[in-house]
Structures are given as C-alpha cells and as structure tokens.
C-alpha cells in the first residue's frame, strides 16, 4: 500500500542551523500519527517541507505517492495543513476566506461543505464576521476549516490546540476523530502529550532534527513497563530495606517503581511490619509525558 506520507533521508539546513538531520518516516493511510518534540526539534520544518512551503536540502517527501516537489500539484491537493502561526487575512469575512480557499483548490461551488465545516467548528454564527473581529480561538477554528475545504485525505495539524479553550479542544478532537474514522490520515504535533496519548496510534519523537523514537503509542508505554506506586506515609524515615527500593520522594509522598503489580503486596507487607501507617495511596501508570521526558533526557 502506498503510504499516506513518506519521508526519506530528509535534511534541511537554514544557513548554519541544521534543522533536520536525516529523517525517515512512513505514515500509513488512516493512521492518527503524532510528531512530538521539544521547541526547535524540527516539527514545523518537516511539515513545511511536506506542504511545499520550504524546500528540503536533500531527501524526498511524498504525499499519497506524489513527490512534493516534482508532482507538487497532485501532492498539495491531497494535503490540508493547519499552520502553527495564527494567520488570517484581515480584508475578508470567515465565509469569504473559506470560499477563496476553496477556489484556490479548484472548487467553484463549495458552500454545502463550507456550511458543514462552520457548523462542526462552531463558527456558524461568525460566518459573516470579519476575520479581524474574531478571538484567537475563533481564528484558529477558521484555520482548521481552511485546511479542510478540499476534503484532503491527509490532514496535518501543527499545534492546533495552542491557546484554545477546553470546549473547542473537545469539539475539535471529536471532529478530527470523526474525519480519521472516515479514513483521513492525521498528522498532529502538540506539546500536550495527554492529547497525543489519547488520540494517536503511533508516535514519532524528534530531537534536534533526528527521530529518536518511533513506535505504536501502546508499545512506547509498555516498554516503559513501570507503574508508580505513590504512598503518603506517616513517617520521616524508611527502614533501610524499603529505602533502597524508593525511586522518589516529595514531602511525605514516597514513590516506588513497580515492574509488576504483584510487587505491591509484599511492599505493603513490609510497611505494615515496620509499623508505618499509610495515609493515602495511588498507582500511576507511566504516561507518554514520562516516556517523552525519559527519551529526551538520553543523549543522542
């Protein structure tokens, strides 16, 4: 099967800045894919090359089998991009903006779909408002609508939820999920790792222009394989046997890493024997954020 996005040997230099240092990546049709990485890792650069906004120094990128440089028209028809920056044209209303965007993609009459987009993004009431008069979050919604006017099979969202309220975040994800269920491939970058964890099938982590992790979300979480037992204890000091097993402490909250939940029972037994009272207890599964921090902390 032709991948929805194929990135091979991708390098990008901006003068002396080496933004991408050989990235290889395949995203399959229908995937919900997260591209994660700290500020400056190269996420937007990769997306810009994908979208033809920037040219690669070397390497190739294809969208649905179309090279983004040689076969740029076919590639761009297949791609919808929500840019990271909150941009808009102050001359026009929301509806005008969406009509023009449809026209650029060769669609003469597109009002039915435009109305559906407005409805799904909670913009119906703002259709005839000038772009200038919209709040930041509303402008962000229009950017999402603009990326979708031509129903692209591949949708790229570069931090779509930055500065967006809870309600829109929920409705935006419900909408994007629906599009994903209907077969659209989604590529998402975000700094909210809980979003990526909840939504994405696969995750790539980028650091200083290199892919440092690439796997199914579950696999990344499983490999981290640890659970954290958090206990609030009525003591200032643990017996040496228990102290050796401690993996972190904040005030009277003691953290123990468990490879397996079966390890919990003996641990609690030892505490009972030592006469230490447990005031509170919780078990935390490792989340993507911890995996992310661990991977980023490793030298590359």
């Amino acid at each position: 099967m032709t991948p929805a996005v194929r990135v091979s040997g991708l390098e990008k230099r901006y003068g002396s800045v080496h933004a991408l240092r050989g990235v290889d990546l395949d995203i399959q049709p229908g995937e919900f894919f997260a591209l994660l990485g700290p500020n400056g890792a190269g996420k937007t650069t990769l997306i810009s090359i994908l979208a033809g906004l920037t040219r690669a120094t070397s390497g190739q990128v294809q969208v649905m089998g179309h090279d983004v440089v040689r076969d740029y028209r076919a590639a761009r028809v297949k791609l919808g991009v929500v840019p990271q920056e909150l941009v808009f044209d102050p001359f026009f209303t929301v509806r005008e903006t969406l009509r023009f965007q449809s026209g650029y993609f060769g669609l003469g009459r597109n009002d039915d779909w435009i109305d559906e987009l407005l409805d799904n993004l909670g913009l119906t009431g703002k259709a005839d408002a000038n772009m200038r008069r919209l709040s930041g979050g509303m402008k962000r919604r229009v950017l999402v609508a603009q990326a979708l006017v031509h129903k692209p099979p591949v949708i790229v969202l570069d931090e779509p939820t930055a500065g967006v309220d809870v309600e829109l975040r929920q409705s935006l994800w419900a909408f994007i999920r629906r599009l994903n269920r209907e077969g659209h491939t989604i590529l998402l970058t975000t700094h909210y790792l809980d979003e990526a964890e909840a939504l994405c099938h696969r995750v790539a982590m980028l650091k200083e222009g290199r892919v440092v992790a690439l796997d199914r979300t579950e696999a990344l979480l499983d490999n981290a394989d640890e659970r954290m037992l958090e206990l609030r204890l009525e003591t200032d000091e643990l017996p040496p046997a228990l102290a050796a097993r401690l993996s972190g402490r904040a005030g009277d909250v003691y953290r123990f890493a468990l490879r397996d939940f079966a390890e919990a029972e003996p641990l609690l037994g030892s505490l009972r024997e030592a006469g230490i009272r447990i005031l509170d207890m919780s078990v935390r599964q490792t989340d993507l954020e911890e995996v992310f921090i661990r991977i980023m902390a490793k030298g590359t």
């Binding site: 901006y14 979208a51 033809g52 906004l53 920037t54 040219r55 740029y72 028209r73 076919a74 761009r76 028809v77 791609l79 991009v81 840019p83 920056e85 941009v87 808009f88 044209d89 102050p90 001359f91 903006t97 023009f100 965007q101 449809s102 026209g103 650029y104 993609f105 060769g106 669609l107 003469g108 603009q146």
Partner: protein, 251 residues
C-alpha cells in the same frame, strides 16, 4: 483555471474594498498636480506647437498614475501577505507559478489602468484632449502597467519589511517616473540629462502614450514600442523565474 480566477478576483476585491485609498486618492493626487502645474505654467509654456501645457501634461500624469498604482498593488499585496503570514493561504494550494504570476499581474494592471482612467476622465473636465491614436494609447497603457506590475511583484517577493519597500518606492519608482518627461519634453533638458533620459524606459512609455493623444512626441511610437516591448517581456520573464525558483517565498 478556477485557482487562477479565484486569486485574481481576490486581488481585485482586496483593493476595491478600500477603493477610497487605492483608486480615489491617487486620482485626486494626480488632479492636484494638474491644477497646480497647469495653473502656473499654462500661459507660459508650450512644449509642442498648438498643444496647451495642460493638454501636454495630461497623458504624462495619466501614465504616471498607471505606473505607480500598478506597482503599488502587486508590491503591497505581497509584502502585506508575507509580513502577516497569510501568504501561506496561496502557497499551500496547487496553484502553479504561472497562475500565481498571472493573477497578481492582471490585478495590478487592473488597478493601474482604473486609476489611469479615473485621471483621464477627470482630465477631460479641465482640458480639451484629443485621442489621435486610441490604439497606441491602449498598447502603451497595457504594456507599461504590466511592466510596473512585474516590478511590484519582484519587489514584493524580495522585500522583507516595509522599509525595503519604501526604499524601492523612493529610490527607484519615484525617480524613474519623475525623470521621464511627465512635466516637460526632454528636448528642453541639457544634453547630459537628455542622454540619461534616453536610458529610462519610462520616458518611452510616456512618450509613446502621449503620441496617442497629440500625434506628436519626442521619438516615434514605433521606436518607443521597440524599447518597451522587450523591457516588459524581460520583466515578466524575471518575475516568473523568481516565482518558479521559490526565491524567498519557499525558502
């Protein structure tokens, strides 16, 4: 085709929505020049026999307005889009560089010619103008507006900030248009400046255009065309090449 048509229409609406600034204001400026210069000089200056100074001045003012506004439209549209970032809306779609070029070119020409027409119509109120050769008038108006629309496109792509644009405006566009015989025949200049003027393409634009009205000019319209046509074609080719290479727009 739909892509090109949409971008063209968008560019037209962009200036038409603020027509007061983009069309009316330049017409008014040109009329102020006309009033002042004509009032001061009409009695004293006769450039060509039988042509009043006001009548002499009119075509030059019309052409100057065409050129400046064609340039202003493409350059300001591009630099604004670049600075606000909304240029991505036209870079993401599958528009070819040819469609992109044609849309910006034709919209800029439309604004230039619209302002020119406005100045011309208003000018009829002040002076008797004859249209000796409408064909020449049209040819020079179209080619010259295209040339300056191209300069605007290139300037808009090249400039990174409004300062750069002001620089081009003040050090290229204004001198080119003013030192071109709008207000005088270059025959009245000292020999040195006459020679310099012959290297200024705008001189030929205005001279050929003026010939269309008065049937007299400093050089023959065919000669002027022989200069302007290649100049315009080269400017088109350069703009297209700039767009094709992705220079500054797709770094």
């Amino acid at each position: 085709m739909t892509g090109f048509r949409t971008l063209f229409v968008k560019e037209i609406i962009r200036f038409w929505k603020v027509a007061f600034q983009t069309v009316m204001a330049p017409v008014l400026t040109a009329l102020l020049y006309l009033l002042i210069f004509a009032h001061v000089l009409d009695e004293h200056v006769e450039v060509y026999p039988g042509v009043s100074y006001t009548a002499f001045l009119m075509p030059g003012l019309v052409m100057m307005s065409v050129l400046q506004n064609a340039f202003a439209n493409s350059s300001s549209s591009l630099i604004q889009s670049k600075i606000t970032g909304n240029i991505v809306f036209v870079l993401l779609p599958p528009l070819s560089y040819l469609e992109f070029f044609a849309a910006y070119l034709l919209a800029a020409m439309a604004r230039g010619l619209m302002v020119g027409l406005g100045v011309l119509l208003a000018g009829f109120l002040f002076t008797d103008l004859t249209l000796a050769h409408p064909g020449w008038i049209l040819v020079f108006a179209v080619l010259s507006s295209a040339a300056f629309a191209c300069i605007g496109i290139m300037a808009g792509i090249w400039a990174d900030k409004f300062d750069h644009m002001a620089g081009i405006q003040n050090f290229v566009i204004v001198p080119l248009t003013f030192l071109s015989g709008v207000f005088y025949s270059i025959h009245s200049l000292p020999a040195f400046w006459q020679t310099v003027s012959h290297y200024n393409p705008v001189f030929y634009m205005i001279d050929g255009f003026r010939h269309g009205f008065h049937d007299v000019s400093d050089v023959s319209p065919v000669h002027a065309l022989a200069v302007i046509l290649p100049v315009t074609l080269v400017l088109c080719a350069l703009s297209l090449q700039m767009l094709r290479s992705g220079y500054k727009l797709r770094p």
